[in-house]
């Protein structure tokens, strides 16, 4: 804990939001110390923020940010807190700004097909409200029933349906954004809030998508709307080896189907994991070692045509169609079923394990290399530490509006957090660093969708963002956040201030004006 939150700060927060929406109780701070990313519970108390505040309006957010900037208090935005990266985890205590109460829908525009919201609404809820208008917002992460748009903005999230409908960066048209100094900006593609494409000025919007809470707080969003799909067709095909499944992926991805929403490859270890007391997979024969799942979304006619072509590709690649029931039910439960604590095993014993998903962006050609190396790393740590477990790997189409190119590669590691101590926590961060090194060796990116701020892998950020990219990040951070109050400690961005200090510049800026 930083100890920087003073009586004066608490008093001002109470003035801004009222005592009801300021949380100082220990339990309220402790549950906001973490997100689903593995957490060092053995030092839980040290990780808690000092105070939590729940604003409802842009004005309140501005007032909170301004006071934090003036008093030099770390401030950490927290949205749905469902991220598998730990962007919302405070590293220096301070104020957690929990934005969940900012969840009003401001405008549904059925002419220009946009919805403007206070961004802390959940996507499932948003779609319930959009349904009567015949439109939907297609962002579909694994956390779809619970995560909220502002967190999707903060992490620059990826969608399971992205190959058909794009990802968050494609579907957030514009935003109202509070900078670390308390200034409010509008940022979009240029022009008004509903303009999707423009050539005026710089493309600033991307800077504020995936910043992990280091550049400010989003307070309004205008989102893209799509016609509700008339039909969806999921199909699961079984293969006898990972290599067969891997080879089948390309023809699916290059099927020339505009309705193709995604292709997912499961490796042998994933199939093995799913057979742990999971009745859906028990009837599948032992010879099935790998699965390719595909899904098409769109109009009735297009999806009917896509169904024929996908089934043909399945047959041509030697895949065994796993049937309508498994395909439809597994696809329908895709958010729920793939990470179940009780499938955790420690030396053969069933224990409650958390799901950690290490996600890299890797080109198709490098997938077998990464898979082999990641499993070697995971298995080596599991042999040494009884708190880890290998839950296998998935490979997902990673790009907007197309099925080819790089893939989101994920290895799921069960983590017995209840038993974490400093030794196993350090092992965990080393494991993550090794995993990230492999991604970089394969010419990939450390994270395709979650962000790469986590202990262990974060050390490699300057390696991945080489040739001046990381230096530019540092300059931008210092420009927008002169006092390093916004989620400090993340992404090694402290270096922006250390270097400036070494160069003789003042570490902070008393006026809080960006230079």
């Amino acid at each position: 804990m930083s100890g920087t939150v003073t009586r004066e700060a608490v008093s001002e927060l109470v003035d801004v939001c009222g005592a009801q929406r300021v949380v100082v109780a220990p339990q309220g701070r402790l549950i906001r110390a973490m997100v689903p990313a593995p957490f060092p519970f053995h030092r839980w108390a040290d990780e808690a923020p000092d105070v939590v505040v729940l604003p409802e309006t842009t004005e309140e957010v501005v007032a909170i940010v301004k006071l934090a900037n003036r008093l030099r208090i770390p401030i950490v935005p927290r949205a749905g807190a469902t991220g598998l990266n730990d962007g919302a985890k405070p590293m220096r205590g301070g104020i957690v700004v929990d934005t969940k109460r900012m969840n009003k829908v401001l405008e549904i525009d059925t002419t220009d097909w946009t919805v403007t919201i206070q961004p802390s609404i959940n996507m499932l809820k948003l779609n319930e409200l959009l349904t009567p208008h015949g439109v939907w917002y297609p962002d579909d992460p694994a956390s779809y029933p619970v995560s909220i748009v502002s967190g999707r903005v903060g992490t620059g999230g990826w969608s399971l349906l992205g190959s058909r409908y794009g990802h968050v960066r494609d579907n957030v048209i514009s935003m109202e954004f509070v900078l670390p100094t308390g200034e409010v900006i509008e940022v979009g593609q240029g022009g008004g809030r509903k303009i999707r494409h423009s050539s005026t000025g710089y493309r600033l919007k991307d800077l504020f998508l995936g910043h992990q809470g280091t550049l400010g707080i989003v307070t309004e969003c205008t989102l893209e709307l799509y016609p509700r799909p008339e039909a969806e067709f999921p199909a699961f095909f079984g293969y006898e080896s990972f290599e067969d499944g891997y080879r089948a992926v390309q023809p699916f991805c290059r099927s020339n189907l505009a309705t193709l929403a995604g292709v997912i490859l499961f490796d042998e270890r994933k199939v093995e994991y799913l057979r742990r007391d999971d009745e859906a997979y028990i009837p599948e024969p032992e010879s099935l070692r790998s699965i390719v799942a595909v899904a098409a979304y769109g109009s009735e006619g297009e999806v009917a045509a896509a169904r024929d072509r996908l089934m043909q590709i399945g047959a041509d690649t030697g895949g065994r169609y796993l049937g309508e029931e498994l395909s439809e039910l597994d696809w329908a439960s895709r958010h729920d079923r793939y990470a179940t604590p009780l499938h955790g095993r420690s030396r053969g014993r069933a224990v409650h394990m958390s799901w950690h998903c290490e996600d890299a962006a890797i080109t198709y050609s490098q997938l077998p290399f990464v898979k082999r190396r990641w499993h070697e790393i995971a298995d080596r740590y599991i042999a040494e530490h009884d708190v880890f477990d290998n839950w296998g790997m998935f490979f997902y189409t990673n790009n907007a509006y197309k099925g080819w190119g790089d893939f989101l590669v994920e290895i799921d590691i069960g983590v017995w957090e209840q038993r974490f101590d400093e030794r196993s926590w350090q092992a965990w961060t080393e494991l993550k660093r090794e995993i990230a090194q492999v991604s970089l060796a394969a010419g990939g990116s450390i994270s395709a969708c979650h962000g790469a701020t986590r202990e262990g892998e974060v050390d490699l950020i300057p390696v991945e963002l080489k040739d001046g990219q990381f230096d530019l990040m540092l300059k931008l951070k210092r420009l927008l956040d002169p006092n390093n109050i916004m989620n400090p400690g993340k992404y090694l961005l402290d270096r922006a201030y250390e270097e400036a200090e070494r160069a003789g510049g003042a570490p902070g800026n008393p006026e809080g004006v960006p230079r």
């Binding site: 939150v5 109780a25 220990p26 339990q27 309220g28 402790l30 929990d98 009567p132 007391d277």
Partner: protein
Amino acid sequence: MTRIPDVEGSDLVPRDPDVLSIGDRDAAEAAVRELADGYEDRAWGCMSSRHKFCREPCPVYQVTRNEQHTSYGFHATVAAMSRGLVELEDAYEQYAYCTQCGACELRCPNTLFTGDFYRNRTQLVQLVKAVRAAGVKAGIERRSWKQWNDDTVAYRNEMQGDPAEVANWADDLDLPRGGDTILFCDCMAAYRQTKVPQAVSLLLREAGVQFGLMNDQWCCGGPALEMGYVDIYEEFARHNLEDWRKSGARRVVTLDPHDYITFVEEYPRLFADFDIEVLHITDLLAEQVEAGRLRPERPLEVSLTYHDPCRLNKRRGIWESPRKLLRAIPGLDFKDVDHVSQWAMCAGAGGGVPVALPEVAEQVARNRLEAVKPLGVDVLASACVWAEDHLEQVARSDGALPVVDITVLLAMSAGLLDAEPWLAEVRRRRAASGNGGSPLAHGERVTEEAGP
């Protein structure tokens, strides 16, 4: 580990004045140790998931949008207490924010995908009751709940009604006492929603079901237990069981889901030899209609939807029989919202929330009534007198639609109660509200198709 230190200026955020702590540290520590023994591992079952899929369906979270008021928040706090990071005196306050509706238990991926194999169904309701009980044991209480329980002990019912008048609702019905089948008339029904037990009695008599009333009905005790007052609950439970045994009862029929769940889940836990069959009125009446012993023939020309009481639908899986009854009534335009969609809905009348946090309870009810608006119906029907009473109070103050119990509808349709005054009231309320209202649940602006 020790309790995390307070931040400077914590005193500027006042604690909930309803929470009263008169216990000592040793008692609190002992209570936490007991809690940890029973619940720490279960808490890790929830925390290890941290999916938080339980969050959006939670009716209280929908109001407060505060993570502390979720299954995940409650479980995490038990784990934190077990590790000594939070004291019971701090934690106790947040456990009032639960109506014990059970939505989170159903929406938990642990329950959905491994509950059967590992017998590890998430059981948040039991955990909330346990923390509240630990508080009471350690001298940490809510003034409002304490007062409510003192009153309930004094009056033997939740309504502060004269105990001698507990069966006054039946004055004109000439009902016997005792017998093989007992009709347990809930406290709310006995003193305020009296039309419901009257309708039930007329329907049972019409169908030829023999039944009697208790000699001396006390509160079922369930609400006391929900608030953590275990001793009071046990006293009530013992009295009621003794009353049933004395009159030779083998079967109890409930007309309120709160009584029902107390009898089927809690009484057997308390009494090893509990052998009374417990039946909920909607199941019993649906059987009678199917067998042709009840004939709802008078058309009721209103449009309505049905609110699934949480303790029937989410916690006991009873959702078919109420729908069967509504579909049996001619003339009704029944616009159903399926029972799974209703996991995310609650009237807000349970778990002691209206007593401790009336504003939260009202907002939960308001959200439930808002969800009815897009359907454009005239009436909200239910099968829980507590939900109906609470929803009706909020509906009246907001000019929303009338709320009615299914048994009253059935009795009107079967010609056992006069339908005309009620239909006139429905028409009056419909005219006053302008019917339907906005189909938007969040009060958002819609920019419709329009030319430039």
